[in-house]
Amino acid sequence: MKKFKILHIADLHIRHNARLFYSTGKKLNNGFILNGHNVVNISDRDVTNQNKNIFDIGSRKLLYKTIKHNIENFKPDLIIMGHVDRLNYETFYNLKKRYSSIRFSQWFLDPLNKNGPDFQKNKDRFYLKYQFCDSNFITTAVDALDFVSPNKTFFIPNPIDSSIDIYRNYESNKPIDLFLAISHGQHRGTLKHDFIDDRVNLIKKISNKISSNIFGYKKNPVWGQKFFDELNNCSMALNLSRGKPIKHYSSDRIASLMGNGLLTFIHEDYKYSDFFNLDELVTFKNINDLNKKLVFFKKNIKLQKKIAKKGCEKAHKIFDNKIIADFIVRKTMQIKFNNKYSWFNE
């Protein structure tokens, strides 16, 4: 395949000083580069954060100017955008009109779930660029949503990066059984006061027969290498996302859990059984079922390691950042994709 010039506009968290070095934006960026494309980055939120001006509130003009200059100098074949929320609708229209020969694309990771958190807000953010993008990539199954066109919108899983997700927890015995990490927003980093998180109800009911390493409930979440150090102490992990389950959606944490070899538990309504077999991932129906299975796998370490290993290998194979990056580029440039994976919705 031809190598393209890609302008990737996404938050690369420079201002967070490597606290989020494993972010999805970075993993996708690595994927584009590893696939041999020529990639230039604009970390939009770092741009808007570095310069405060009372005549340019939110640094919108600065960001627009930065993008324009980058396009003029680099002349990209395609522009891939992450959650670029600082630009408004008219600015996106102007960009598309001005550079109509360039293909535009966006990836969007937040839940688009009517029964989930911030539905209207997330939908509006997604829709901001939707009309001007030749392709859109979301982490919820397209057929579970009635407001996106399946011709221009495609599902992508949360990517695993083999240079970031390097641990293989199933290879040794771990001191703690369960790893669980939630947060009230990764940019914020700390827990909000008086914030009601629906996941807490389930966390409170987790059996005390299980030793656990829980962050984001009572304890502040952990970030950076500390996140991996804590995760590396555990053999199993519970993947919890806010709101009612919706087909194929998960927070990006699942990539860290499965990608680092923890036996991962997920609610069956997310339908991850479409991607993984029973001997690769554990699904549960409700809290009783979860507790039963946690206790079972705590006792059956051999089986626990076997499933974790198979799940990790499969996840690295099908959720690989290079594959997902390739999918994004091919779909946007309308190039046929020969490989078939269970998550493609063609």
Binding site: Y89, E90, Y93, K96, K97, S100, K123, Y127, Y130, Q131, F132, D146, F147, S149, K152
Partner: protein
């Protein structure tokens, strides 16, 4: 139950396409009320749609009518006012109207201050995507689900074709003003159709499709067509003419209303026309259609026709070239 007022003061083709929105509104709740502000010209046509309750004809040169309609509209307390035509006259008129929610579909973002002040939501009807895609976005803003299958003629009764015996299974050649230079956009390419090369076009169509030909026109007077009628046709009744050479195989139905054109189109097997309201009707009626479009405005043509699976595009050009392209068309 919600009350919607839709501004669609442009051409019939635009209104026909907007049926996706009215259908979506009715699909959400059959008790929803839809009223339309339209041009005086389209008033009679839109009146035939049963799911449209009130029609307010709009004429910017008729201040009395504007005031009368203004008072009527403001008494209705609409939930939604939707500007679909993107015309400034509609934007300005609507800012004085009462409604809970105002949304505008625009051609550009001017006047931006008005838009920001008076509209809850606005978005551009861009040609980056086809119309259907843009309407799906509009439906989303309105929390409506756009129908997958566009049934423009739901709630609409098509007139009986009084020439049914002549038109059944024929080819309809719609010669409106878009065929003739100086009667439409000056920057369009024209087919230089005239009384001298008219026979060339007809012979080509006969040869390619082997069907009777029904020539139709709009209500506008076109001098070149009068010449053609005088030379090649003989009058049968009011607006019906038979060919002097081909008799019933080539007939001319002059000055038909849009409702009459619709009924003729329904009976025909193939339609040849310039892209516009007729191609929207033919798409709705699922009749194979050759639509003439401007090559330089292909983006615009695709914006209108991309979703029409039985429409084939032919570029506007000299008549000889148009005939050559028509000969290559496959359905």
């Amino acid at each position: 139950m919600n009350k919607y007022l839709i501004f669609r003061t442009d051409r019939i083709g635009d209104f026909i396409f907007s049926r996706v929105l009215t259908q979506a509104i009715k699909k959400k709740n059959s008790k929803n009320i839809i009223d339309i502000v339209c041009s005086k010209y389209n008033h009679d046509y839109i009146k035939k749609y049963k799911d449209i309750r009130n029609i307010y004809p709009f004429d910017k040169y008729d201040p009395l009518l504007l005031v009368k309609n203004f008072l009527k509209i403001n008494n209705e307390n609409y939930d939604y006012i939707i500007i679909l035509d993107g015309k400034r006259r509609s934007l300005f008129y609507s800012i004085f109207l009462k409604s809970k929610y105002k949304i505008a579909v625009l051609k550009d973002f001017r006047p931006s201050i008005f838009l920001r002040l008076f509209f809850d939501k606005y978005f551009i009807n861009t040609e980056f995507n086809d119309q259907y895609y843009n309407f799906s976005i509009l439906c989303n803003y309105l929390h409506l689900v756009i129908p997958n299958k566009i049934n423009y003629f739901e709630s609409h009764v098509i007139l009986k074709d009084k020439y049914k015996t002549l038109t059944k299974g024929a080819l309809m050649l719609h010669l409106d003003e878009k065929w003739f230079e100086e009667l439409y956009h000056h920057d369009y390419k024209y087919m230089n159709l005239n009384y001298q090369n008219f026979n060339f076009l007809i012979k080509n169509i006969f040869k390619k499709f082997k069907k009777n030909i029904i020539i139709t026109t709009g209500t506008r007077k076109i001098k070149e067509l009068d010449k053609i009628i005088n030379l090649y046709f003989q009058k049968k009744n009011d607006n019906l003419y038979y060919s002097k050479k081909y008799f019933k195989k080539l007939i001319f139905i002059q000055k038909s209303s849009f409702l009459e054109l619709e009924s003729i189109a329904k009976n025909c097997k193939i339609i040849i026309c310039c892209e516009g309201a007729i191609s929207h009707v033919s798409h709705a009626l699922k009749v194979n259609t050759i639509a003439l479009v401007n090559k330089n405005n292909l983006e615009t043509a695709l914006y209108w026709t991309n979703h029409m699976d039985q429409v084939r595009l032919v570029y506007r050009d000299k008549l000889k070239e148009v005939c050559r392209q028509i000969n290559k068309v496959q359905f």
